[in-house]
């Protein structure tokens, strides 16, 4: 609405104040403080009408999968030390985000994970051996993305943000109510594809939830080198995308905020951006030395904000969990890890000739030639072994 100078002169000061149009951007901005439903000690904070607490059985399942997720993560780190994995980027400490996010979507929705989302993928129900195929190194992606509605774990930063926008638009175009959940880290929000993805999703009103896990470091580079914004959730407003920030170590709040974000997207209102404030307890990967860029006191402070302990305290206080249930879940986690250990200790079969199978739908004449060359090399090597 434009106001002519004459109209301003005619209006009384009081009238001028009351006709100030609402700021359309204000409704897109996140809360000034991260949404929190549990205090650090696990005690409930005042309920929020905009973020209703998930049902008790859902929180029970959230707890169970977080415990299994952490056990999986610990096992994967151990497998790396044993040489079974080439590398492993741990998400220890981020269990509330990893599990809360995938619990907020349906099996029919699509998830676009990064390399740090191994825990999220096992929480989604994907076979952990298939999840670890990438890091074990027998192929790039071990699961069938179409079957589990989950894209391959994305290593090029932020590129998955645009895929999520396209997938969501394509699903809507074909009359399906699929939501796309795109994971991204704090560092990758500096990449152009994050901005292009959020912008495309907004312009096409594509049902995407962008979930930024701000774990404070991009390998070694702190958040202050990525952005001068008050919060990464402020990046939505420039694209017309409603955004929220949440305490990423508060599992109840993460699930509540993600549930609302997913509902927003599914209702046809376009994308939603969530920033979760969390912390990576382990180095970037086993090959990283975190002591070069952060001190132990900082890590210890985050140990006190452990998301599993926080949820356990709350659920015990509510009577949702007791000693027996906690022990039973711990036992499940041990069995899960033991099974993973056994299966990962088996040497995977790899077939050099399969290198040519999926470059194209049908191999080119040049690839067929090269396959024959490799076949001959393998036969010669076998013959040599036979002679020896």
């Amino acid at each position: 609405m434009t106001t002519t100078p004459q109209a301003v002169r005619r209006a009384s000061p009081r009238a001028r104040r009351t006709v100030t149009p609402p700021d359309p951007a204000r409704s897109l901005l996140p809360d000034a403080e991260p949404v929190r439903l549990l205090a650090q000690d696990g005690m409930p904070l005042p309920a929020r009408a905009d973020y209703p607490e998930p049902a008790a059985e859902v929180l029970h399942e959230l707890y169970r999968r977080m415990v299994l997720g952490r056990r999986f993560d610990t096992q994967a780190t151990a497998l790396t030390k044993q040489g079974r994995l080439a590398v492993y980027p741990s998400s220890r400490g981020q269990e509330a985000c990893q599990v809360g996010a995938v619990l907020a979507v349906r099996d029919t929705d699509w998830v676009f994970p990064t390399y740090r989302e191994s825990m999220a993928l096992v929480a989604r129900g994907i076979d952990p051996v298939e999840v670890l195929t990438l890091l074990r190194g027998d192929w790039h992606c071990g699961y069938d993305p179409t079957e589990v509605r989950t894209a391959p774990q994305c290593t090029p930063l932020a590129t998955q943000c645009v895929h999520a926008a396209g997938l969501a638009h394509g699903e809507a175009y074909q009359g399906r109510d699929t939501v796309a959940l795109a994971f991204i880290g704090d560092g990758a929000t500096s990449e152009g594809d994050f901005h292009e993805g959020v912008n495309f999703a907004a312009v096409f009103k594509a049902p995407v939830v962008y979930f930024v896990q701000n774990n404070k470091y991009a390998i070694s580079v702190p958040l202050s080198r990525q952005t001068a914004a008050p919060s990464l959730a402020y990046k939505g407003v420039g694209y017309g995308v409603p955004s929220e920030q949440v305490d990423g170590n508060d599992p109840v709040a993460v699930l509540a905020v993600l549930t609302r974000a997913v509902a927003h997207a599914r209702a046809g209102k376009g994308p939603f951006l969530v920033e979760a404030h969390t912390y990576r307890m382990e180095p970037h990967t086993n090959a990283d030395d975190a002591s070069r860029y952060r001190d132990g006191a900082e890590v210890d402070a985050w140990r006190d904000r452990d998301p599993i302990a926080r949820l356990e305290t709350y659920l015990r206080a509510r009577g949702v969990l007791d000693d027996a249930a906690v022990a039973e879940i711990a036992e499940q986690a041990e069995a899960y890890a033991a099974d993973l250990r056994t299966r990962m200790n088996a040497q995977p079969a790899v077939d050099p000739l399969s290198l040519f199978d999926h470059v194209y739908a049908e191999p080119t004449p040049q690839l067929i030639e090269q396959r024959e060359q490799v076949r001959a090399e393998l036969a010669a090597a076998r013959a040599e072994e036979g002679d020896a």
Partner: protein, 333 residues
């Protein structure tokens, strides 16, 4: 009936949209405007803005969006406005478009067509005339196709849209509005087949895209010098047709490879290497290359010096050791 390559491409897109509901066409200015070269002219009016639409001005976004659409089951055809403006999309192309099938052992395929108006000879200012085909051809997982005739423009684009693999479809800008007799819908040889455009006995000129008319003109001019030259149009750089080119050079015993792109580490270098590997004992002279200079694409008033023209091709043909003497060019070295 006389028509242009631009019209043939437009007809191919329209026919593909009509034939398959999964086909969507998008990019910058492809909607109401019909594309800066008018290749998508009228498509939005005919098929609606859900099937032919403008996007934000962001090439990585366009190609990444196409990846997502393809995963959802659609068949995206995207337009990069100019060769050099496609570079922001290169990460999406090299890391995702080219690799998704392989990364997922064939579970995911992304049958995307990325149309790239390319090369020069149109007096374009900088960043509008790059020959970028080698970047794509060097990336396993992509098919790289470039028509030189009106019939091929239609047929190869239809095949690209139907193909299960991603295709970088390179359109020689300077040939857009050249007119030729064609009856659409034309169907020509499939992907992976080079075509002899002009038979000849004395030497083979191998060319693709914008260099094909140059090769044909040179072959015509060479008649006056007494040379009968064969011209082979590569058509699909990937998949590459070794057989047709090898057969031609074994017949003629001499070969010149022509490309508009800078010569160093280009597609022409690959072709020359393949020819000499396969035809060594049939060759009467080294395989020569005629290419653009190894310089950034020049300003319009200087592009004539850069572009391989008929004279430069004929000079190369003259150096094919007709008198069985070493090439004088390298004598000092």
């Amino acid at each position: 009936m006389a028509t242009t390559m631009a019209k043939a491409l437009n007809t191919a897109l329209a026919d593909a949209l009509a034939a398959d509901d999964r086909v969507v066409v998008f990019g910058e200015d492809v909607g109401a405007l019909g594309g800066v070269f008018r290749i998508t002219d009228g498509l939005q009016a005919r098929f609606g803005d859900k099937r032919c639409f403008d996007t934000p001005l962001a090439e990585a976004g366009i190609v990444g969006f196409a990846v997502g659409l393809a995963i959802s089951g659609l068949r995206p055809v995207v337009e990069m406005q100019f060769d050099a403006f496609a570079y922001p999309a290169f990460e999406q192309i090299a890391s995702h478009v080219a690799k998704l099938r392989n990364r997922t052992r064939g579970a995911l395929s992304v049958p995307i067509v990325i149309r790239v108006p390319y090369a020069g000879g149109i007096g374009g200012v900088e960043h509008h005339c790059d020959s970028s085909e080698a970047y794509y051809a060097h990336t396993p997982g992509l098919k790289v196709v470039t028509p030189a005739t009106v019939d091929d423009a239609y047929s190869l684009l239809r095949e690209a849209i139907d193909d299960p693999d991603p295709v970088v479809f390179m359109e020689p800008k300077k040939l857009y509005f050249a007119s030729a007799d064609a009856s659409l819908p034309a169907r020509t040889e499939p992907f992976g087949r080079a075509v002899v455009r002009r038979p000849g006995r004395d030497a083979t000129l191998v060319a693709y895209g914008p260099a094909v008319p140059v090769a044909l003109e040179a072959a015509e001019a060479a008649r006056e010098e007494g040379w009968d030259l064969e011209v082979v149009d590569v058509r699909t750089i990937v998949p590459f047709d070794d057989a047709t080119i090898t057969a031609s050079v074994r017949r003629t015993g001499r070969c010149v490879v022509i490309q508009e792109a800078p010569g160093f580490a280009g597609v022409g270098a690959e072709i020359a290497a393949r020819v000499q590997e396969r035809c060594f004992h049939a060759l009467h002279a080294p395989v020569l290359r005629v290419a653009g200079l190894d310089i950034p694409y020049p300003a319009p008033m200087l592009e004539h010096t850069h572009l391989p023209g008929v004279d430069r091709v004929l000079d190369a043909v003259a150096r094919l050791q007709w008198d069985d003497q070493p090439d004088a060019r390298w004598a000092a070295a």
